[in-house]
Symmetry: C2
Subunit: 409 residues, 2 copies
């Protein structure tokens, strides 16, 4: 497996682009609509927000992913979320899919729709219909086209986010590429995390969904923003089979290789979301080792990565192990505080700072050096079993919390 460029255009047969149609009022110069398009039929898989309040496009996509055998296009807008918009919001999905169908010659049931932005406003449907024509005209299959699409789905993101890999499955070269948008720490426009992944692998719809459902809990679902789960969160995965490998229809070597490559794409995208927290200076990774159950490992790692106190300490380059132990302690997971080892690790080295629940005689200077890197990992070995989990977040910075990181110094 090898990382390549090209985002959602890395896989054969996929085109994309992004344009500005004027959805984001007062933000001229910012692209706000994107399209992904495949000339050939794609299998589609998706995972959707667990929020009880689901945006209209989430309802639309769930239906299409479940009921349609073929999908050929995804359109995305940023600026307005089409959430809490009642019947009119659902009708607008129908109007947009109709427009894509008539413009491109595909069926309405082959169109997926995603929105991100302000909750409670209706989509500016007329300018979006014009946008669809413009998108279709501008479609391209190059790296630069994928980048236009990745830029058009941004809201408060500071950088566009793309990852792609190629690998060999059943003797054929297969590509998986994706783009996503996420949110910062406490962004007003958190609504939404959106991810789009395309692949030319040949795989059954059932196995495609299985792979996505297995990878999401360990990747996108392990990213911490501010705990607000949006009404629109969606990850879509489209496979058009153009790599020409024998169709993957069961769990075998080919499936495992595909899942491994999909994991790499999803992990890469997830880390990019975490690192793009508003004002963040560091990606903060938390690995929990040897928990009793997988659920325990997830609970413990998420509790640390979401702890404001811990995140502020990371910004302050302060090895404040007390806060980490405290966050493990209130996670709701049973463990023995007096067995826990805690390490910090980064490109600058690795240091054990707690052994069996008590601080080691570590060098604060060395700890500060390790914590001063752009990517910092905290490892907590709870010695209760054999299950591990990794969660990603970012530091809480001075801009947000002036007072917070300076207390101990």
């Amino acid at each position: 497996m090898e990382f390549v460029n090209g985002g959602v255009c890395a896989a054969k047969g996929f085109k994309a682009t992004g344009v500005e149609v004027g959805i984001k009022k007062g933000h001229s110069g910012k692209k706000d609509m994107a399209m992904i398009f495949s000339e050939t039929e794609c299998k589609a898989a998706g995972t959707f927000t667990s929020n009880l309040v689901k945006a209209a496009p989430v309802k639309w996509d769930k239906k299409i992913v479940t009921e349609s055998d073929s999908v050929k296009s995804v359109i995305v807008n940023s600026g307005v979320a089409n959430a809490c918009t009642g019947i009119e919001g659902l009708n607008n999905c129908d109007i947009l899919a109709d427009k894509v169908a008539s413009e491109t010659g595909i069926k309405k049931e082959e169109v997926l729709i995603c929105s991100t932005g302000v909750i409670g406003q209706q989509l500016p449907i007329d300018i979006m219909k014009e946008g669809i024509s413009k998108l279709y005209t501008n479609l391209g299959e190059n790296e630069s086209d994928a980048t236009l699409a990745a830029e058009a789905i941004m809201t408060t993101d500071t950088v566009s986010k793309q990852v792609a890999v190629k690998t060999i499955i059943g003797g054929k070269e297969v590509h998986i590429g994706g783009m996503c948008k996420g949110s910062g720490m406490i962004h007003i426009n958190m609504c939404t995390m959106l991810g789009f992944i395309t692949t030319d692998v040949n795989i059954s719809k059932e196995m495609l969904q299985k792979a996505l459902s297995e990878v999401i809990p360990d990747t996108f679902n392990m990213v911490s923003v501010d705990g607000d789960t949006s009404t629109n969160d969606t990850v879509l995965l489209l496979a058009n089979g153009m790599a020409g490998n024998d169709c993957i229809t069961k769990v075998d070597e080919a499936y495992n290789e595909f899942k491994k490559a999909l994991y790499a794409v999803c992990e890469g995208l997830s880390k990019k979301i975490a690192a793009d927290g508003e004002g963040a200076t560091a990606l903060f990774e938390v690995k929990v080792l040897n928990a009793l159950t997988k659920q325990d490992a997830i609970g413990l790692s998420k509790s640390v990565v979401t702890s404001s106190l811990t995140k502020a300490a990371i910004y302050g380059h302060d090895a404040n192990w007390g806060r980490i132990l405290c966050a493990l302690g209130y996670s709701g997971v049973e463990f023995d505080p007096e067995k826990v080892d805690i390490f910090f690790e980064s490109a600058a080295g690795k240091l054990k700072i707690v052994e069996n629940g008590v601080a080691t005689d570590y060098s604060e200077e060395e700890a500060t050096k390790i914590l001063s890197e752009k990517e910092v990992t905290c490892i907590a070995d709870v010695k209760m079993g054999n299950e591990n989990a990794t969660a990603w977040g970012c530091d809480l910075t001075y801009d947000y919390v002036k007072i917070n990181a300076d207390y101990r110094s």
Copy 2:
């Protein structure tokens, strides 16, 4: 029932004071030790942190509250939390209690101990022993003495926090008074929420604990800070019986009157903690009405009051009902989003902004007026049953989140 002054000295027979002994390095001029003292025997009740990692004084107090029939003194220090301090931390509790006993002539088992401050440091035990002598010498029973104590337990609090009431129980005038310290939003020194309540009511130990255990879930436990539950959180309640009412030994009219007064004190203290969030400009109260179960009502109200997006909107005086509906939606509680009504209320009026899940035609101008007050209430009527809950927090202010409140304007 009537609110009075006097804090922990409002009840007959209780003395208190606060002094500076030098625990907070580099913060000269800040008091850091407090004592509450009763010449007569007190019944004691307590509630303690649910964190699996418990500070040494929490372990000490749990044992005393459970096993001792009489308590006469509480000593508190700020600056060092005595958490994650192993055997030495527990030994230091023993040394402090011994010193209080020898200094004051009471038993070691009659001494409760609380600490708040940095995790992982040992207490500066020698200067604290000197501090105990100083505290005992300075004890007084006036309002000013209670205030000295309330000031000495502060860490990052910007104001000291006291509430007291008097009422009639069984024909006798009874007093309940308390002080507490809390934390701001994402304070470095969140560790700890501490509350101390004294009363001259005559009540059995069993009923005293019952009253406290019934009141805490609706008061202190409904305050949102940043989700970090500390290793030291403690509320202690001491009753010396000097009001002379017939001893309360069962659930009757006298018990209910006592519980009502205790609730008023705990609610008052809780709101003071919420309103003192770092940089907060408003107390944010969230009432959930007509949930199916009490647990549902609590889960829904806490989800809204802890939502960073909602809190930022409150600061921006923005009636962003979409975020409130979103926070209800990810609470994990089952309800029908299409039945929810949402109101905003403050001294400036009351306004229905959502009816059956859809925005009403409310005046943004009027909403902004209501949201511009110092105390703002959001009411969500979910129409699923008959259970209610109220949670308290504060807004997320510009100093913390420059970018957040300006997006929609």
